[in-house]
C-alpha cells in the first residue's frame, strides 16, 4: 500500500532578512490530520514559516511541496487553497 503524500513537504528551506538567516529547514513533512506546533523566541522564523506555508511569502532558497506538487510561483489558485489567519487579523472595511 502506497502512503499518501504529506500535505506539506519542505526541503532545504533557507530564508534571510538582510544578512540574518531566520529559517534553516533541511526537511519537514506535515501530514494530513496532524497538529503541528511551532515554538521559538522572537525572530526565530515562526511567522516567516507560516507565511511560506500560506504561500504569502516567496522562497529565497529551497522547495515547498503541497500535496506532492512543487509550488514555486505561488499563483492565486494555490493561495486560495490555504488561508492564514493571523493573531490580529485585518478586517476589510466593507460589508459582505
Amino acid at each position: 500500500m502506497t502512503q499518501a503524500h504529506p500535505i506539506y513537504h519542505l526541503k532545504n528551506i533557507r530564508h534571510y532578512y538582510g544578512p540574518k538567516k531566520v529559517l534553516d529547514i533541511d526537511d519537514l513533512e506535515i501530514r494530513t490530520g496532524s497538529i503541528t506546533g511551532l515554538m521559538g523566541p522572537n525572530g526565530s522564523g515562526k511567522s516567516t514559516l507560516l507565511k511560506m506555508l500560506a504561500f504569502a511569502l516567496k522562497l529565497k532558497e529551497g522547495q515547498i511541496f503541497y500535496k506532492g506538487r512543487e509550488e514555486s510561483g505561488f499563483s492565486p489558485e494555490v493561495r486560495l487553497k490555504v488561508t492564514l489567519l493571523t493573531q490580529k487579523p485585518y478586517l476589510l472595511k466593507r460589508t459582505v
Binding site: 507565511k51 504569502a56 489558485e77 493561495r79 488561508t83 492564514l84 490580529k88 476589510l92
Partner: protein
C-alpha cells in the same frame, strides 16, 4: 468699503442675468480643471500606489523627486509647457498654445505630484496585515491594488480635493499658456486678476463667488460620500 458691498450685489446681478463673459470663464475653468484632474487621478493614483507598495531600485530617489515636484512653482510649469508647445518647441506642430488643451497639460503636471505623493503617504498608513491577508486570500496584483485603494479611499479623496484646490485656483499656467483670451481661454482666476487690475470689482467678486461655490459644492459632496 461701499464699492465692495456694491460689487457683491452687482456680482449677483451678473451671475443671475447670465453675463456671457462671466459664464464662459466659469465653463472654461470647469473644463480645464475636470480634464486635468481626470489625467492626474488616472496617472497619480496607480503611481502613488506603486511608489509606496512595491520595492524597486531607485524608489527613494523617485520619492525625493516627487516631493520636490510638489513645490514646483506654477509659473515654472507654465514656462516649460510654453517652451514645449510654442511654435519652435518640440510639440509646436500641434498648435496647443493659447488653447484650453494647453492649459490642461500644465494643470495636469501641477496636480499629478499632489495626487501621487498624498496617495503614497496614504498607502503608507495601511496596516501591513492587509497585504498579508489579501495575498493569503489569493488576491492577484490588480485585486490587491484596488482593495488597498478602497481601504484608504478617504485619504485618496483628500488627495483629490487638495489637487483640485491647486488646479482651480491656479493663475500662472492659465495666464501663460492660455493667454487670458476672452470667450476662449479666460478662466475664473485669470479673469479675476484682469478685472481687479481694471478696477472692475463687481466682475471679480462675481467670479470669486463662483469659485468659492464650486469649492464648497465639491467639499460638500465629498463630505456626503464619507458619511455613506
Amino acid at each position: 468699503m461701499d464699492f465692495i458691498v456694491d460689487g457683491f450685489f452687482k456680482a449677483l446681478e451678473l451671475l443671475i442675468s447670465g453675463d456671457s463673459s462671466t459664464w464662459t470663464a466659469v465653463l472654461a475653468t470647469l473644463k480645464v480643471s475636470a480634464c486635468s484632474m481626470l489625467i492626474s487621478i488616472g496617472a497619480g493614483l496607480p503611481c502613488g500606489f506603486l511608489v509606496r507598495y512595491f520595492d524597486f531600485k531607485g524608489k527613494r530617489q523617485l520619492r525625493i523627486i516627487l516631493d520636490t515636484l510638489l513645490a514646483l512653482p506654477t509659473v515654472f510649469i507654465g514656462l516649460v509647457v510654453y517652451a514645449f508647445i510654442s511654435r519652435q518647441g518640440p510639440m509646436g506642430e500641434f498648435g496647443l498654445l493659447f488653447t484650453l488643451t494647453g492649459i490642461v497639460i500644465g494643470l495636469a503636471i501641477l496636480s499629478f505630484p499632489v495626487v501621487t505623493v498624498i496617495t503614497a503617504s496614504t498607502i503608507e498608513s495601511i496596516d501591513p496585515e492587509l497585504k498579508l491577508t489579501l495575498v493569503s486570500l489569493g488576491a492577484g496584483k490588480r485585486h490587491i491594488l484596488f482593495t488597498c485603494l478602497w481601504e484608504v479611499r478617504y485619504g485618496i479623496l483628500t488627495a483629490i480635493v487638495n489637487a483640485y484646490g491647486r488646479v482651480s485656483t491656479e493663475v500662472g499656467i492659465a495666464m501663460m499658456i492660455g493667454g487670458n483670451i476672452k470667450y476662449h481661454t479666460r478662466t475664473i482666476t485669470t479673469a479675476i486678476a484682469l478685472e481687479t487690475n481694471k478696477g472692475m470689482f463687481a466682475d471679480g467678486i462675481a467670479l470669486g463667488l463662483v469659485l468659492i461655490t464650486i469649492a464648497f459644492m465639491i467639499n460638500l459632496s465629498l463630505s456626503v460620500l464619507r458619511r455613506q
